[in-house]
Every structure is written in structure tokens, then in C-alpha cells.
Amino acid sequence: MLNIQDLEVGSQLPQREYTASNVSLFLYNAAVWNPHRIHYDERYTTEIEAHPGIVIDGPLQGDWLCQVALNWLGDDGILSTFNYTNRRAAYLGETLISGGRIVAINENTQEVDLELFIKNEAGNVITPGSACVTIASSNLRGAG
């Protein structure tokens, strides 16, 4: 259980690696009803739209970012805000790394601000994000 008194600004959230496959991208795009062929048709992607390879969806990276916050939070609070920007494209074959850290803690409101990132193998942050979570007040030490 997360106790807000135990959290420290600067602490890292667990990191995770993702290597998309053309099957996982096909399934993701089928699930979100996105027919754009840059996510599953390599010849179309490189010859018609002139990308260097199959494009890993920006919103999929957003979902991975959101999971950094939600998997860390578990049932110990709620997500209040979540933002991200797709700054650079990522292509099939790349391994991406998600993670984050605590940047602010407000014990009065029980709110914790998180900085989130998706990095590529070169270490560049390609999708930065942020989230604010509210830790459940029952998680105050000594309560309930």
C-alpha cells in the first residue's frame, strides 16, 4: 500500500521495456478501429508515405505511459490528470522503455505529480508525459 508520507520527490517508478511486433500493432489498431496502413503495411508505409518503417502508434505509447502511473498506483488512489505529447516517431524493431519519477508531493491534498517518459534505445525521450494522482486518504498511516 502506498503511504504518502513514505514517498519522496525524485523516486523512480518501475521501468518497463516494450518491443512491438507487427502482430501486436495490427491487433492494437484493429482494437481502436484505426485503418491507417502505416501501422501494418510495410510497402505502403515506406513507398507511399515515405516513413523509414512501420510506425509505432503514438496513442499506444500514451497507453504505455498511463500504465506507468496506474501500475505504480494500483488500488491506492485515482488518476486525476494525464498528459503526453508525441515528439518523435518510433518504428517497428525499436525497443522502447517506459518509466517515470515523482516530481511533487502535496500531503494536504494527497496529490502526487509524476513525470513520465517513453525513451528509445538511444536514450532520447520521444514521448514525454505527466500525471497527477490522488492517493486515497485511507492510506494515511494510522487511519482506518
Binding site: G62, I78, T81, F82, N86
Partner: protein, 65 residues
């Protein structure tokens, strides 16, 4: 292509809630990218209960080139 998302969640949804979603285009603008012009479209999705209690707001940017 996707440009990003901003999400604000006001409360959890519960069984029995009747939710109303409204989606609108709030901005369209052009920028010069390294490979040519880019058109940014910003859409807002607002979800409330049937009694207009706020549940969620989402702003999404998509980029056409």
C-alpha cells in the same frame, strides 16, 4: 498521426451512470515541418452525467501531413 492527449478525470464511473459525450473540433492550424506543411487538428471530448456533472475531459491533437 497522433500528436498527444490531455486528460482530466473528475470522478469514477459507476454502474447505472448515464453518460453524455460531446466531441468538437476546437482548433485547426498549420505549421511548417521538416518534410513539408503539417496540419494540426485539436479535438475535445467532454463526458458528463445526464445531470451535467463533469466526469472527464480529453483534448487530442492529430497531425496530418
Amino acid at each position: 498521426m497522433a500528436g498527444g492527449t490531455k486528460l482530466r478525470l473528475h470522478r469514477s464511473i459507476r454502474p447505472g451512470d448515464v453518460l453524455v459525450g460531446t466531441r468538437k473540433i476546437v482548433n485547426v492550424y498549420e505549421k511548417q515541418g521538416s518534410t513539408g506543411p503539417l496540419i494540426f487538428t485539436v479535438r475535445e471530448l467532454t463526458i458528463t452525467t445526464a445531470d451535467s456533472e463533469p466526469v472527464m475531459e480529453e483534448i487530442q491533437t492529430s497531425i496530418a501531413r
